[in-house]
Amino acid sequence: MSLTSDPPIHPPAPTEPGEKPAADEYAALKVVPVRHPWRWVAVAATAVLLAQFLNGLITNPGWEWDVFARFVTTETILHAVWVTLQLTFYGTVIGFALGIVLAFMRLSASPFLRGVSYAYIWAFRSIPLIVQLLFWFNLAYLYKELQFGIPFGPGFVAFDTMNLVGAMSAAVLGLALHQAAYAAEIVRGGVLAVDGGQLEAAAALGIPRLRQLRRIVLPQAMRSILPNAANEIISLFKGTSIVSVMAIGELFYQVQVVYGRNGRVVPLLMVATVWYILLTTVLSVLQHYVERHYAKGAVR
């Protein structure tokens, strides 16, 4: 057997001693695939474990599927799902809008803007979400009144902080500001992933700066932004359960309220679980179609 990479023109098939096939018989030789007995053992073991688990889901009375079925589409739960979706929506939209601004600040030529953006990302990635949420919830303790006007000068309109930053807006604010720090890095990563020659070509063609970003850079950056952004949106969606500490009627809080009343902990946790899984699946399907849209021209 030679080790050179050039294959011989007529590969001599090794034969058993004594056997001597004629040259035209090579075409008729049969290929026998290699067997994998241990793979079959692994398959069997996994199948047994899976069957046991599924069997438990059906036969174990502790799941109380009848209780699950009674609560899964009650109005209280549906409303809680709606609140969870709202928190996710506003958290994502405000978070990514601010994230895009922060990303371009970090890519700016000004050291001041770069520094501020870096400091923001550093701070908001360092503070646990739950700590930050409680800060916003207690904002009125720090600032009794919020005023719009000339910085350090007279104000025009003033709001009572307690009324303006209610529990729901404190939650949205906390989720969005937290999300913005992560979104900024995702967007920046996407922009950096676009070949520098693209901006250079756009500049050489005299295409205006904003259009360069909107038409040339962002659509290409989207390809690397989307998988990470989808991760973030899904984890934000599940992360909304954290605002239950602020007594906001989102899915997890509402489920806790119900099982606090009737004591049926497991089936109600399943209610929340099934809704989270269902909506995450919807988001994943959406992700697939959005990614396909931005893959234009990426495949031959």
């Binding site: 020659g197 250079e200 070509a201 500049a203 063609l205 700066r209 290409q220 990426a298």
Partner: protein
């Protein structure tokens, strides 16, 4: 040497480059370049890698700023406005407007991969010159026919060969109807058998009287098409003149040494 104002240049030079210096950190890439290119002429710039020829080309449309000296294209300073004894740096918007008169073709094509061939060609006329889409499409179709790719208008760049992509890039540069075309090693990223089709397109443009500056390693192309051959080494112009002189009877030792290696 004073920089010209728009009305002050009476010469027929399309491009004037005067004592241009450029450094990247401690590395001085251009060490005083003077060069004139007359309208309708083809100038081919030769030289070993690292000689500064690509950087020189990039200063002509202000993709690189010069540290010293000035460049004018068609009687207008590139990247600056002169007032009295001062050169004021132009705003990005004004630089972008200047670039629409100067076409640039890159070594790596730099086509926009997410846009079709047609969209690549009409993007700049619409975005930079404000042409109506219908006119831009009609013009683009003509240009694509001229580079032999009329039937590829709906394809994406990745579906084309390197030679076809570079021909699209040339059509894209032509769509702005530039006064000057700059080519930065347009065939260096191509498989050898695809070089010819791109050079044919450039030759065709040369015969049509387009002013162009071509940085290349294709000596045969220089001999056939160039009005002037410029040989650069270590950030300076070593020798320039008609191809018959520079390529066949070089005066400078460095030019001879370079040509003996590439011919």
């Amino acid at each position: 040497m004073s920089a010209p104002t728009k009305e002050a240049t009476g010469s027929d030079a399309m491009v004037e480059i005067r004592s241009v210096h450029k450094s990247f950190g401690p590395l001085e890439v251009l060490r005083g370049i003077d060069l004139s290119v007359r309208a309708g002429e083809v100038t081919v710039v030769l030289g070993p890698s690292g000689s500064g020829k690509s950087t020189l080309l990039r200063t002509i449309n202000h993709l690189e700023k010069v540290d010293q000296g000035w460049i004018s294209v068609d009687g207008t300073l590139v990247g600056y406005r002169r007032s009295g004894n001062k050169l004021y740096e132009l705003r990005e918007r004004e630089v972008l407007r200047q670039r629409t008169r100067i076409g640039f073709v890159f070594q790596n094509f730099n086509l926009f991969p997410h846009l079709t061939v047609l969209e690549n060609v009409i993007e700049a006329p619409i975005a930079a010159l404000g042409r109506p889409r219908k006119d831009a499409v009609a013009a683009a179709e003509k240009l694509l026919a001229r580079v032999g790719l009329a039937e590829k208008a709906g394809a994406y760049p990745k579906q084309l060969s390197g030679g076809q992509q570079q021909r699209v890039a040339i059509a894209r540069a032509l769509a702005l109807e530039p006064k000057l075309l700059l080519f930065d090693e347009p065939t260096s990223a191509l498989d050898p058998e695809l070089v010819g089709e791109v050079l044919d397109v450039i030759k065709d443009l040369a015969r049509g009287g387009t002013t162009m500056i071509v940085v290349t390693h294709e000596i045969g192309f220089a001999r056939e098409v160039a009005d002037t051959v410029v040989f650069m080494d270590e950030g300076r112009i070593v020798e320039q003149g008609p191809p018959a002189d520079v390529l066949d009877r070089p005066v400078q030792e460095r030019t001879r040494a370079f040509l003996s290696k590439v011919l």
